[in-house]
């Protein structure tokens, strides 16, 4: 199904995602972390294209890269003191954290590789945008409406919290 080229692309993207992910959680300067987060999100968008989910890739770039990280960079710059490199960014739980996380990693990967998934060999849907739009308005109309209420409450909440009195 996926040939040699996509194999190479996968490994490059995986390296970018994991590398920048590690940077996000380990950089001394929080501002640099945010920049690596952008890189990581781009890598994930590439993975989506590899999985023939172009629409999700576009949403990923628009919302994660275009909105969320920009918001975070704003927040970092507004709270200027935070990104001076002198502040210690990690707490004293690095060693126990590493132990817990590596145990979880080994167990999870082991359990997932021991599971037989019910794979389907059908060709993936190509008209994803139209199909997603249709599903959102038919089968998934209820969560679609609920998520609009979520956005409304987040909007009101953020204004109430952040506005000066």
């Amino acid at each position: 199904m996926l040939t040699g080229v996509s194999e190479a692309v996968y490994y490059i993207l995986a390296a970018i995602i994991i590398g920048s992910g590690v940077m996000v959680v380990s950089m001394k300067n929080i501002f640099h972390s945010a920049l690596f987060l952008v890189l990581c999100f781009f890598g994930v968008a590439g993975i989506y294209i590899l999985l023939s989910a172009e629409f999700i890739a576009a949403v990923q770039v628009l919302i994660y890269v275009g909105a969320i990280t920009i918001l975070m960079i704003f927040a970092i710059m507004l709270t200027a003191r935070l990104y001076s490199a002198q502040i210690k960014q990690s707490n004293e739980q690095v060693v126990p954290g590493l132990i817990i996380v590596s145990a979880l990693l080994v167990i999870t990967i082991f359990a997932l590789s021991k599971t037989t998934w019910k794979l389907s060999s059908q060709a993936p849907e190509t008209q994803t945008v139209a199909e997603i739009g249709k599903l959102l308005m038919t089968t998934y109309v209820l969560p679609f409406e609920i998520v609009s209420v979520v956005l409304l409450s987040a909007l009101i909440g953020a204004i109430v919290i952040a506005r000066r009195d």
Binding site: A111, T116, K118, T139, P143, I146, A154, V160
Partner: protein, 478 residues
């Protein structure tokens, strides 16, 4: 399709919008919007009671007796919360209208959560429940503890959502669907065909239990509770400790009883261990607390442990005892928090030692607090006793004697700190030479009377609601 089933949720949502709009046009005395919110809740309660039964969107939304039962719990809790917030919002510097609107929006989320029969709907409703609560926890903008509570709650909420979603994604991978009913069918077919599902199923149980465990504040996922409960505005703390937990329990029952009941050997023991940890650790740390809000925070951790005993039973009687206990826990815990709110409005203190001599200052208030404390311990003839009785008998029915032994031993420990409050009120003299009576506003008085009636009524006549709880449990039988 019968869209009338969505009437209570839609109505409550529109009412929340109405509150935002009215708030926009009112210039002063905005705390009076509380009464508008209360009116909306009363109408919604009526709508829920008379609502029809049925499914919508191919099983995405269940308007069944289970949903009705939990909706009543959310609505009554919200009613008591808003009643006890009237005085509180007078002191808020800004935005009292949005405060009530956000509570209503959060309750809309809970109502959808209790009705969800599909994982995407369930997740989205869960977020609708929690996102307004992050804001409400941080509502006292001039208080650092409140802001910190909001931030902590948000971070833990986000992390627990991610854990829950990781579990859900594995379930989706195993079955190719998000409808709980289909998940069950696909898993059974696969199990019958191959004799095993694979370790990913157990892994997904662990992730989902961890995710929901954070929301329910089970030990060891409880570390956010004391700080958030102490920092948040007290009415919101009360709301968190009852309504948001009830929502978590409803979600838990929906997922695990609807889809995974036949695989119970894989998750029941884990829940049993978590429940006993919650009872032991919650009760022991509660012993050490001197602040009433922190004490009630740890006691609520222990109470969730008791509720989980009914889940461990994995039977219809188990579910009905969980629903019934949640219902009576609501009255006792809300009552205790409302007493604490009343006391702190008048004296500005949340310290248990300041409750000394309360029986002479305000005999009625002290008596009610004593009733709530005794109900939380589970002393007959109060509602808490009947609740615990049903929980324990459902566990004994299924042979979990050791769990009941742990529960009874830890109840004895809890006797000490709950009665500690009673002892302060009745047998200690006030430090103050000339203690004033506590002033109780009409709204708070109403809230207290509703709670005390609930605790007494359902202790003496538990059958009124036990029948409804049994009906709610029938949902999971087919």
């Amino acid at each position: 399709m019968n869209y009338q089933l969505l009437l209570p949720e839609t109505f409550l949502f529109l009412w929340a919008i109405l509150i935002f709009v009215v708030d926009f046009f009112r210039k002063e005395k905005k705390y009076n919007l509380a009464y508008l919110a209360l009116l909306g809740l009363i109408i919604t309660i009526i709508l829920v009671v008379i609502s029809q039964k049925g499914d919508l969107f191919g099983g995405m939304f269940h308007g069944d007796s289970f949903a009705t039962f939990f909706n009543l719990i959310f609505l009554i809790t919200g009613f008591l919360t808003i009643l006890s917030s009237v005085e509180y919002t007078k002191k808020l510097s800004s935005y009292p209208g949005e405060y009530f609107g956000l509570i209503l929006l959060s309750m809309v989320g809970m109502m959808f959560l209790a009705s969800a029969g599909e994982l995407l709907t369930l997740y989205v409703s869960l977020e609708l429940t929690t996102i307004p609560l992050f804001v409400l926890a941080a509502y006292r903008k001039d208080d650092f503890k409140s802001s910190e509570a909001g931030l902590k709650y948000l971070i833990l909420g986000g992390m627990s959502s991610a854990l829950l979603l990781f579990g859900i994604s594995l379930i989706f991978g195993l079955t190719g669907t998000t409808f709980l009913k289909e998940i069950k069918t696909v898993l059974i077919v696969k199990y019958l065909a191959t004799g095993e599902i694979g370790p990913a199923l157990i892994l997904s149980f662990i992730f989902m239990i961890a995710g929901l465990g954070f929301k329910l504040a089970l030990v060891p996922f409880h570390m956010w509770v004391p700080d958030v409960y102490e920092g948040a505005p007290t009415p919101i703390t009360a709301f968190l400790s009852v309504a948001s937990k009830a929502a978590g329990i409803a979600a838990f029952l929906r997922i695990f009883f609807r889809a995974f009941l036949i695989f119970q050997v894989d998750w029941v023991l884990l829940i049993a261990v978590l429940a006993s940890l919650a009872m032991i650790i919650g009760n022991i740390i509660a012993l050490l607390q001197t602040n009433i809000k922190r004490m009630l925070a740890y006691s609520s951790i222990a109470q969730i442990g008791y509720i989980m005993i009914g889940v461990v039973s994995a039977s219809a009687t188990g579910v009905s005892s969980v629903a019934f206990y949640t219902f009576v826990y609501m009255f006792a815990n809300m009552g205790a928090f409302i007493t604490a709110i009343t006391f702190s409005n008048s004296t500005g203190s949340d310290e248990i030692k300041d409750y000394a001599g309360l029986s002479r200052r305000s005999p009625a208030l002290a008596a009610m607090m004593a009733v709530f404390m005794l109900s939380l311990v589970g002393i007959p003839p109060l509602a808490g006793f009947m609740g615990k009785y049903y929980l324990f008998s459902s566990a004994i029915e299924q042979g979990y004697i050791w769990l009941v032994v742990v529960a009874i031993l830890t109840s004895v420990i809890s006797l000490y700190y709950y009665l500690g409050v009673v002892r302060q009120m009745y047998f200690q003299n006030s430090i103050d030479e000339n203690p004033q009576a506590i002033t109780v506003s009409p709204a708070l008085r109403t809230a207290l009377i509703i709670s005390v009636i609930g605790v007494l009524l359902f202790g003496i006549f538990p059958h009124i609601f036990l029948n409804l709880a049994n009906q709610a449990a029938m949902v999971f039988l087919y």
